[in-house]
Each structure stands twice: as structure tokens, then as C-alpha cells.
Symmetry: C2
Subunit: 331 residues, 2 copies
């Protein structure tokens, strides 16, 4: 990190990223490192997630959304762990021939979200790459010491709760790749736009972090598909899950698509990029959590329960669904 | 981060990276995030730096050294800020067709250094990329609250001290790119190997972090060339520097190369990848710092002083040197 106007690299950073670095511990991006003073008695929650052009986003996506999505997927991890954002570091690799206007829009997008989620830029690293553009973010949050909400602490008997709507982004990805599927799915233009928007720009549930911290016995963010991610939570906690598919929250657009093509139910339940939270909540705390979510303006729905055993069963019209591939993997 | 054996990606991470994640806050790489409990009364120092194949390393470099170098360049920033390592996160992007043996050696190398520098793996992110392999590391250290050693706090009158040897890595890079230059530089095979080794595997000065914290009025790591980096420190602090080039510490191999080709003096003073520390030390503290460095087994040399004014002047045989390019920039 190095922004003393000495080189072209320094000038780009000074112009586009320094205005985002308002936190005193960022030292105006002018030092080798940043300094963070955690709230007394807290643990620092650390998460890192990146996006690569051609893998996690389309190279011609709007640059303001690319930066925002990169930050939001990390904010989603903080929310699921019950952590309040403290700030983030950003490593950007840019291909030769990138446009400065691209960088300006990218920085404006991520800067707007840094404000919105009270998660300031603390520092970073900017490199040229012979490969595709990539953005790797490390985000920091605070929880009371020892209280980070884990995947591994769910109990048989807990209710399974999920936030927002599931599957929009997986459908949106297919639409972003090939707009013509909208016709086969009999979607209106607004439905189609809604789904693509949900893929391009997730809405991390940081407004729920305090409620997750207070009420969840376990939680994780849903980034690689509900079925696969819930299976991971079950495996980590040594429990099974019984999910009533009819209660999984779907948008009106997703319902329309599934009506046109019932095979899309599997896409919705196993596709990635939801960035919602799936939680285990003790039955006696479930109402309090749902009320807190409602108060925070986020929908949250009880979709089933955890039981003794292993595996996550998704039951639809009395039949257990089996999936070709339960979640997304890069390898 | 997701390692519950569910996917091929999970299995690779479980096999090669989970054994490195011994810190309790890493949760065996089995959760969305890591948790770090900073020492009471401390600030967390944050730094991120990455390496990309074809930019920061050669694609056919030994994989064990690639991981180690990626970690060490971050450890170097912590050392320069006076911070004790707490741990690190790692984002790895692998091209399709990478060999699992490559990953095994990479992980073994970085694991050995995590032990050596007491800087455990806390978490990470593994992706496939259509581009070159890259490794982005975010490292965390601790300093007493408010005590991170900055670039901007040097004073006129301070001595300028530098650790280790300068310029070896810049020469080593040229040799790594084209071994035949060893002949023109009249280097012996061991001299040539020494210089290449210094490029491939820097030696961060973490053994000096406590002495930097105790004695330096300002410091930074020398990663983009001594001349350029010292100029940045001067600019950040609002001072000038007078450096006696004859006192800049050079290895016997670097001296031999400069004797054969005097133009290499500029390479040595402006080339990157030293990963030494340049410090400003108040005159009355200089002896104590040099003694502490000696006790830690690291050479450190007084190469000049800071004065009122601006700019870093490198004086050689009574003449001020001027450089074509004072430091490395990616753009």
C-alpha cells in the first residue's frame, strides 16, 4: 500500500481510493499498514472473499456493481457470524489496458457501500495482472469475546430459519448469461430485471447481525446454494435437517419461472449467490428472532427443523428431493 | 472459506490447508470466518500484499518458495510497523490444470514459515481462475494501542538506519530472468545463487519488531527500492534525507557485480524486493537500536541523516546521484 503520489500507481490510488479511506487507522492509505482498535472485550471476526472477471462476474458488468458485490459478499459473512463491520482491506488486480473510467466507477460503487454499511476502507494493494481483473476483499467485524456465531453449534430441535428470498441470484445468473431464457420461463421484463439485479448485487443482511448474535444457536451465509450450505451446517453441528420446500421463501419472479419450468426448483435450492443467512434457532427463541428481523425490515421464515441424524432433507409435496449437485464448487 | 469435505474444492483445502490452521480462531477452516482475540490494550495492524505469476514471481518458481514469499512480504510490513504477528488469511486463485503436487509443495512452504514466524493461518478463500496463479495474503499483527510505527513521524536530525543488505534481490531478479548476465557481472556460481536466492525468498526482519517499536521514530519496509521508499518516508514526514552511498550495506556479491558494471549501483539503490527495513531513529537512540539489532542477529547500519527540506539525496564520492526511476510501479 503506497500512495505518496510517487508513481502512476500511487496517483491512481490517491485519486480513486484515498477519498474512501476516511478511517483514522487507514492513515490516508499513506503507510505500509492500517491500524484497527477493536472495541474493548471484543474479538475481531475476519473473512476474505474475492471476485474474478469471467468466474464471479462478467467482464462487462457495470464496474460500480463489481466493487459493491465484492464488498457485500464479505459483509454477508460478517452478518451471518453476528459481527458488526469494522472495515475492510482490498486487493485489486487490473489487466493492462483497463480504463481509468472503469476504476472511477468501481471506486464510487464500493465507496457508496462502505458508507451504507459503515464499513470503511482501511487499506489495500493494487497490482497489474496479465490475467482478468480481480478484487479480493478482507473484511473485519467485531463480536463480544467468544461469541462469534458458528456453523457447528446447532442443536437437534432447533428451528431452521432463512432470510430474504432464495434462488433469485441463481436464476438471475442464467438470465445474465442468456437473456433469451426469459421467454422460456415466461417472465415479464420487470421479473427478469429483478432476478438479474439480485445476481448482480446481493443484499447482505447486516441489519440482522445483532439479532443473529442474540438468538441464533448457529448460522452461516447462503453463498453456494441453500441445500449444500445447510448440509454443511448440519455436518458441522452433527445434526440432520427436515426442510419443508413449500415454506422456502421465493420471490414472485422465481415462482413464475418454476411454474414455467419445474426443473428450476433445483436451481433455486442449489444455486449460489443468494447471500442470505440460514440460521438454527432454539424453538423458544424463534419468535423473538422473527420479530427482530421484521423490525429490521428483513423477511425471515421458519422452513423446518433440525433433528438427530445427518443430512439435510428437502421435502416437497411429501417427496424427498434429490439433487444432481447440492452446491457450487470451483474444482 | 468452506472445508466440510463436500466438494473437490473442500477436499483440496482440507488436505493441504487445514493442517496449517492450528489456531483455535481458525475453526479448522470449517466456518465462514475466523475470530481473533487481540491482546488487551493492543491495536491490530493490518496489511495486504499479493503475488501474481508472471508479475511477482515466475510461473516455474519452486511452489514452496512462492507461498513463503507471499507470506514473508506481508510479515515484512508487520516488522516495519513494530508489530508482532497474530496470523494471516490467504486468498489463492489457481489456473485450471494446476497440479495437486504444486499445491502440496506450496502449502508445505507456507506452513513452514507460519511456524517459523509464529504467524498461523486463520482462514482463506480458494478459487479457480482463467488467469495466472495468484496468492493474496492479509496479515495481522499487534502493537500497543496507538503505537504503530508510521512513515510520517520522522524528525529532522534523526539518523537513517537500514537493515540487512540492499539491492541483492534486484540483482537476483535480473539473474533469475537471464542467468547469462552472471558472466558479464563476473560472478562466481555461489555469488549468483546467493543473489537469486535473495530475490526468491526475502528474509523479513520480524526479529527486529520490538526494537523498531522501542526506538524508531518512523519506519517502513523497503519493497520498491531504497531510494524511492526513503523518498516516500521523507515526503510523509516532511523532511529531507542525506544518504552516504558508501555506507549503504551491500553484500559481497552485489559489490562484485557493481565493480564489473558500475551502472548496477542504480539497480541496487532503486530496485525492488529487498524487504529490509529503513528507519528514522533519534540520534540518542541510535546506538540502542543498533545494539538491539546486533543482539537479534540482524545487521543494521547508519547510512545518513534526516534534515529540514525535502527529497532523499544519495551522495556517492561527493556527487549527488540522480536516478532514471527511483522506485518500482506497476502502472
Amino acid at each position: 500500500m503506497d500512495q505518496n503520489y510517487g508513481s502512476p500507481e500511487d496517483r491512481l490510488i490517491a485519486r480513486y481510493f484515498r477519498p474512501l479511506a476516511k478511517h483514522p487507522g487507514a492513515f490516508g492509505l499513506g503507510d505500509d499498514a492500517a491500524a484497527l482498535t477493536p472495541p474493548p472485550g471484543s474479538d475481531v471476526v475476519l473473512t476474505t472473499d474475492g471476485v474474478i472477471a469471467g468466474v464471479h462476474f462478467f467482464a462487462d458488468d457495470a464496474p460500480e456493481n463489481i466493487g459493491r458485490k465484492a464488498l457485500r459478499i464479505n459483509l454477508s459473512d460478517l452478518a451471518a457470524k453476528g459481527a458488526s463491520p469494522l472495515g475492510f482491506l482490498m486487493a485489486v488486480a487490473l489487466p493492462s489496458g483497463f480504463e481509468e473510467t472503469w476504476l472511477a466507477a468501481f471506486a464510487a460503487g464500493i465507496g457508496a457501500d462502505a458508507e451504507r454499511y459503515a464499513c470503511p476502507l482501511l487499506g489495500g494493494d493494487t497490482d497489474r495482472t496479465p490475467g482478468p481483473a480481480s478484487v479480493s476483499i478482507t473484511a473485519f467485524g467485531a463480536v463480544p469475546h467468544g461469541k462469534m456465531v458458528l456453523r457447528s453449534t446447532a442443536k437437534a430441535g432447533d428451528r431452521v430459519v432463512v432470510t430474504g428470498k432464495i434462488g433469485d441470484a441463481a436464476l438471475g445468473f442464467k438470465l445474465r448469461r442468456d437473456r433469451s431464457v426469459a421467454e422460456a420461463w415466461r417472465l415479464s421484463a420487470p421479473q427478469s430485471e429483478y432476478l438479474v439485479g439480485r445476481y448482480l448485487l446481493p443484499e447482505p443482511r447486516n441489519a440482522l447481525a445483532a439479532a443473529v448474535l442474540a438468538h441464533a444457536s448457529a448460522a452461516m451465509d447462503v453463498s453456494d446454494g441453500l441445500a449444500g450450505d445447510l448440509s454443511k451446517l448440519c455436518r458441522a453441528s452433527g445434526v440432520a435437517a427436515d426442510i419443508d420446500v413449500s415454506r422456502v421463501p421465493l420471490s414472485e419472479a422465481a415462482r413464475a419461472a418454476i411454474t414455467a419450468d419445474p426443473n428450476l426448483l433445483e436451481t433455486v435450492l442449489t444455486g449460489g449467490d443468494d447471500y442470505e443467512i440460514v440460521l438454527a434457532v432454539a424453538p423458544q427463541k424463534a419468535d423473538a428472532f422473527l420479530a427482530a428481523a421484521h423490525a429490521a425490515g428483513v423477511t425471515a421464515v421458519d422452513i423446518g427443523q433440525l433433528t438427530l441424524g445427518e443430512g439435510a432433507r428437502f421435502v416437497h409435496n411429501g417427496n424427498e428431493l434429490s439433487f444432481a449437485r447440492a452446491s457450487f464448487s470451483h474444482f
